[in-house]
Amino acid sequence: MRFAVAIDGSAESDRALDHAVEMASAAGAELTAVHSVDPDVYDAGGADPPSDRSEYDDRLVVESVDDAERRGERLLDDAVERAGDAGLDIDAEVLYGDPVRTIPDFATTEGYDGVFVGHRGLSEAQERVLGSVAKGIVERSSLPVTVVR
């Protein structure tokens, strides 16, 4: 069995990684950390959604592809290291584009058995404004998706 875990550097993504590492270790499965470089709009913030307009402006910034790519590679390096500390060697894969599209497409095309993704646990109203990568991946993926809070 082979699983993929979506990495974006958030605390939720760390929890999804930890859960996926535990699951893959217990099942004797392989695991790949994937990050999709998507520089169009970029949320630099943390676990809580932005509370007002100025916070949106601070957090949602457009950055260069190079910067986004470097950040993605660094996040994946961190993920590989974190999994290694937990005793599992994992692969890493950089994708390009909207993660809601690229991650399910990659996992399906490459014959993975499932995808793990973190979720912020937003309210319905917050989610309508910010969208949810987790929900998008669940909706797009024909593979089983495990959403981790």
Binding site: H19, E22, M23, A26, A27, T108, G114, H119, G121, L122, S123, E124, E127, S132, A134, K135, V138, E139, R140, S141, S142, L143, P144, V145, T146, V147, V148, R149
Partner: protein, 148 residues
């Protein structure tokens, strides 16, 4: 890893796909599969004859969870079954809390091409609010619809 896996069931194809995935996982980890059917009071309403209606929904729930549990046991996996009454997503979360559930497995509709309708509303609410991981499984695995 997983010891207690909850599969809310409504007899649909999505729930059946979720059950298949849960059985496989439970077999792998020697876990128990809990089948739960929730009689949705909101869908029953409060008109005359409601009591009979609730009873027939409960009967349907018992039949559905019993069929699910039989399928689980036939696969050599430990099973429990329960029928609850109330708001489905709240009952699911409450059951998960009360019974030390460490994974909830639920189906999505899998109508490809209509992405925004893919997630059932109960699955959507559980994914958004559950404290434990939620594994979503698509019922329809028609690959040809996937290609865009």
């Amino acid at each position: 890893m997983y010891e207690d896996i909850l599969v809310p069931t409504d007899g649909s194809a999505g729930a059946s796909a979720a059950l298949a995935e849960a059985i496989e996982l439970a077999g792998e980890f020697d876990a128990t599969v809990h089948s739960l059917y929730v009689v949705d009071l909101a869908s029953v309403g409060t008109e005359v004859g409601t009591v009979d209606l609730v009873e027939s929904f409960e009967q349907m729930g018992e039949n559905t969870t019993e069929a699910a549990a039989t399928r689980v046991r036939d696969a050599g996996v430990e099973a429990t079954e329960e029928v609850a009454t109330g708001s489905p997503h709240r009952e699911i979360l409450e059951y998960a809390d009360d019974n030390g559930i460490d994974l909830i497995v639920m189906g999505t509709h899998g109508r490809t091409g209509l992405e925004r309708y893919l997630l059932g509303s109960v699955t959507e609410k559980v994914v958004r609010t559950a404290e434990v991981p939620v594994l979503t499984v698509r019922a329809d695995e028609d690959e040809s619809d996937e290609a865009e």
